[in-house]
Amino acid sequence: MTREEYFNALIERHGKEAQEKFINATVGIAGLGGLGSNIAFFLARLGIGKLVLADFDRVDVTNLNRQQYRVADLGRYKAEALKEQLLGVNPYCEYETHSIKLTEKNIPEIFSECGIICEAFDKADQKAMITETVLSDMKNVILVSGSGMAGTDSANKITTRKVISRFYLCGDEKSDIADGCGLMAPRVAVCAAHQATAVMKLILGQSPV
């Protein structure tokens, strides 16, 4: 399978105009858990030219209920384990990995090439931190965040909303893991798919909402 054959197949499904936009895009994913690992697969399948993948964590057995890792990945850095799988799906896109903790200091540098960043952390204070950092310190970057996908409520409660300038929020904005309602694979994946769809539409020059 050559690069040309691979991209011809993507063009057959997505159309030439859309595929050229996807190939020329660079997207960041901050956090590679239930949201981030699913978002990465969706974007690799779209043929996004470059993904910047960042997570300090290693794969734990409690991740396997909803995150795109395998038993064989236990103990590995999530960024590395994910990159290996993404190369298996789409070997012709670029995956840059960062296995370090993201902070307000390093986020602008790590994601400097990205026009769009997906916030995919699990802790609420970290979601707030990256939102503040991207919207105040990265003037031309759009942030697509996920908040509220825990529990077993209807998938229909998960929506995409433009909250403020350069900021889209996916989720039900209510279901909190802190309430003890758990995190279930399908509902987390619905939120991840909302985020990936918003990214897709932004790259195509369409409004996500």
């Binding site: 858990g33 609420a124 707030a128 919207l135 908040s147 996908m149 909250v163 893991i177 995190l183």
Partner: protein
């Protein structure tokens, strides 16, 4: 009146931190935009909201 998330509120002359706390929210878990600009968390105690200001408070919940 101040507009908070599109709703009128009696919040003039209060700090961002006071308003967030009075809404029952945790200052560590919100992002705040005031008149189109993000307010940094380190400024929540310093920035005072004025009459006719427009404020958006995004409250994050955990899970991902």
């Amino acid at each position: 009146m101040v507009k908070i998330n599109g709703q009128p509120a009696e919040a003039a002359e209060k700090t961002v931190a006071q308003i967030v706390t009075e809404q029952g929210l945790n200052v560590q878990r919100v992002a705040v935009e005031l008149n189109g600009d993000i307010v940094k968390r380190s400024d929540f105690d310093k920035v005072v909201v004025k009459e006719d200001d427009s404020m958006e408070i995004v409250n994050f919940v955990g899970g991902g």
